[in-house]
């Protein structure tokens, strides 16, 4: 088959196929970095681009996923920073020969006021588990003066985060064992 015919064939099929692929959604609370090296120290940055239907954000609460240890949240002026410590389901090796039974379960920034027209980031340093090719979900509750957004939806089988209105911010771990 000539070069031109290959081009025709590919172009036509590609054009038709591309037209069917839906575009991506936006405006959710998301992570700045979608991928990170497994087993590394990583700065998790939560981006908050909106309030709740126009109402200013007053609290951001993040649940630390299983396997993530050494959590050190970054303080923000104008916000109170709290952490909730709880018993872990299974002990975790935090590195440096340290086996840990209790860990940070939740990080909270409260008492602030982030207008809907403004944008801000909430960060913490963590040590990621050594589990390449897995997805970590940082379920986040966004409280506003009026209303709440729970960014906690984890995609069901054969679905992607694009199919949901309030997907949980997700971090993909990459790297070799």
């Amino acid at each position: 088959m000539t070069m031109r015919n290959y081009v025709y064939l590919t172009a036509i099929v590609l054009a038709a196929i591309l037209c069917t692929v839906p575009g991506s959604a936006g405006a959710h609370v998301t992570l700045e970095a979608r991928e990170a090296a497994a087993g590394s120290y990583h700065k998790v940055v939560l981006r908050v681009p909106h309030g709740c239907e126009g109402s200013p954000t007053t609290a951001i609460r993040v649940k630390i996923p299983d396997g993530v240890v050494g959590v050190k949240p970054q303080p923000k002026p104008g916000w109170e920073l709290d952490t909730v410590i709880g018993k872990l389901d299974e002990p975790v090796d935090a590195g440096h020969g340290n086996i840990v039974n209790e860990g940070l379960q939740e990080v909270r920034w409260t008492g602030g006021r982030l207008l809907d027209e403004h944008f801000d980031e909430f960060a913490m340093q963590v040590r990621l588990p050594d589990a390449p090719d897995t997805l970590l979900y940082f379920a986040t509750v966004q409280e506003c003066e009026e209303g709440v957004h729970r960014w906690i939806e984890i995609p069901e089988a054969a679905r992607s985060a694009d199919d949901y209105d309030e997907p949980a911010p997700a971090l993909r771990l990459i790297g070799s064992n």
Binding site: M1, Y8, E53
Partner: protein, 560 residues
């Protein structure tokens, strides 16, 4: 030269359509007039939906208490961030459903529904007997669909053949006439099918085909779009043949092919299958491959019957080489689609849908066998002027055309049956008077009269948890829904909040959300007129188990 330019233009256009929207924001509904769930004394004259940013309407409809379309897409217009829908002055009493789909600034679609009632909400009507004409309409619609699909394949496939095998030369007079006639028949079948589908939705008598409502229902939503695309594609191919200059001819042929392929994924089982980002392109690929193969049979047959020697051999050989790639793509895409649609491999032989699919696959295997005989044994003999081989090839191609017609008929039948769903019907031991019925309203032998009202009960699983859902009476109008959540061990879980999304693909109703009330004992309930119309409804139940964990359950309920 113009052909290449047209091609580049098409590629640029396609890439622009496919480019992901800039992640800015998407529109949110702030409020509406009348508000969701309002009961009004008089028709409101119009509906206003207020969003937080400018929007443009994509698909809007208002359904009346009888399921008829009271206001269609032309009644909607956008003024900055407000969607204004004009309603007729006089409206029937009962519950009306406003279903909207709009596009925000970044192109991201936002959809939902809201309900309002005039006078009083719709009472559950006495059970409607199934329409006497339903089988007739269904059969007619399938037959029209069969003709439409064949016409689209012959036209789109013929166009692909002309472009790639015949190097975009002007086709023979006979092929031109056949393609134009095909386009004419295809357009007719599409129009007829639209009317028949509307009649099926309404359960109308044959005279219903003369009314506006029936045609309006047939044209509404994605079906109308698909029909429009099909007609546009057929017209484009027919028009292309009129041009002597290669440029416009090639451009129109390419446009016809792309639009024809696009008209398929818009509706149907594959279009509703998740994940959409995989199912739609797989379907498009499958359709493109089938169109090329099926549509090439007619021009090939004409060539084989009339052509001679080297010229014929060259054309057939070119097709034969290309066909290997196309068949591989067809099979791969088909397998991917089947894997996405069926939950379990066992469904292949246990369900009606699965057996039909196996039948279709059997026919395809037969088709590939005939094609293999052609390619390996007969085509090589064409160069040497073997006339017996040429005639045999012609007969084989006729057989292939017959098989293709059978396969298309099988596909249409497949579209009529539903892929198996795995709703579980368990007889869980519960306290209290929970009678467990199966789908279609058996009445239990109650020890004392009166008979318990009919209800639909099902259990849905997600992760480790089970949700028991009860819908009473599962008829259009006022319904009482109750849910209870249990964990793997069977103990009751008390969620913090429960919401239900109601949607109906059949009725063209976008999802709308309701909050359930905590009625104690770990049960949540909702009473209202959400199931305003009969049809297949898709429910998504979100149970907030902890502040950070939500369990999502999905099921379908047939309201009749």
């Amino acid at each position: 030269m113009t052909g290449r330019f047209a091609l580049r233009l098409l590629l640029v256009a396609a890439l622009n359509i496919a480019a992901p929207a800039a992640a800015l924001g998407h529109a949110v509904l702030l409020g509406s007039e009348p508000p969701d769930g309002a009961v009004l004394d008089e028709p409101p004259g119009g509906v206003e939906l207020r969003f937080n940013e400018p929007i443009s309407p994509t698909r809007v409809q208002v359904l009346g208490p009888g399921g008829d379309v009271v206001a269609g897409p032309d009644a909607a217009r956008a003024e900055n961030a407000t969607l204004i829908i004009a309603l007729p002055e006089a409206l029937d009493e009962g519950t009306h459903l406003v279903s909207y789909r709009v596009r925000s600034l970044d192109g991201h679609p936002v959809g939902g529904s809201l309900a309002f009632a005039i006078g009083a909400a719709t009472e559950a009507p006495p059970a409607l007997p199934p329409s006497a004409y339903e089988t007739g309409w269904r059969f007619g619609e399938s037959a029209a669909r069969f003709v439409q699909i064949l016409a689209l394949f012959v036209a789109a496939g013929g166009a692909l053949f002309l472009l790639m095998i015949e190097k975009a030369r002007r086709p023979s007079g006979q092929l031109q006439r056949l393609l134009k006639w095909t386009a004419f028949v295809g357009v007719g079948a599409t129009v007829i099918r639209t009317g028949l589908y509307g009649a099926l939705l309404h359960g109308a008598a044959p005279a219903g085909l003369l009314t506006d409502e029936v045609w309006a229902a047939g044209v509404a939503g994605m079906r109308g779009l698909s029909a429009l695309l099909a007609i546009a594609a057929l017209v484009a191919v027919a028009a292309a043949l009129r041009f002597a200059r290669a440029g416009p001819r090639i451009g129109l042929l390419v446009a016809g092919i792309v639009v024809a392929i696009l008209s398929f994924p818009v509706t149907g089982h594959a279009a509703a299958t998740e994940p959409r980002w995989l199912a739609m392109p797989m379907l498009a690929l499958h359709i493109a491959a089938v169109a090329f193969w099926a549509g090439s049979l007619l021009p090939l047959w004409l060539h084989v019957r009339q052509g001679q020697g080297n010229e014929l051999a060259a054309i057939v050989e070119r097709f034969s080489r290309l066909a290997v790639v196309v068949v591989a793509a067809l099979v791969a895409a088909g397998v991917a689609l089947a894997w996405l649609i069926l939950d379990e491999p066992a469904d292949l032989w246990t369900s009606a849908y699965g057996t039909l699919l196996l039948g279709k696959v059997g026919l395809v295997v037969l088709l590939i066998a005939v094609a293999a005989v052609n390619k390996l044994s007969l085509v090589p003999r064409l160069r040497s002027g073997d006339d017996a081989a040429r005639r045999r090839l012609g007969r084989n191609i006729s057989v292939e055309m017959g098989l293709v017609a059978l396969i298309v008929a099988g596909t249409v039948a497949l579209a009529q049956s539903s892929p198996p769903r795995h709703a579980h019907h368990d007889h869980l031991a519960h306290d209290g008077p929970h009678h467990h019925d199966h789908h279609h309203h058996h009445h239990e032998a109650a020890p004392s009269p009166p008979e318990p009202p009919p209800r639909y009960v099902t259990t849905i699983e997600s992760g480790d948890r089970q949700l028991l859902l009860s819908v009473q009476p599962a008829r259009p109008g006022r319904n009482e829904l109750t849910i209870q959540l249990t964990d793997a061990a069977g103990s009751v879980i008390e969620p913090l909040e429960v919401t239900i999304d109601f949607a109906s693909g059949d009725l063209g109703i976008e999802p709308f959300r309701r909050e359930m009330e905590d009625i104690g004992g770990g049960r949540f309930g909702l009473t209202g007129e959400e199931f305003a119309l009969p049809g297949m409804w898709q429910l998504r139940i979100d149970a907030l188990v902890t502040e950070f964990e939500k369990e999502i359950f999905r099921t379908e309920v047939d309201i009749e």
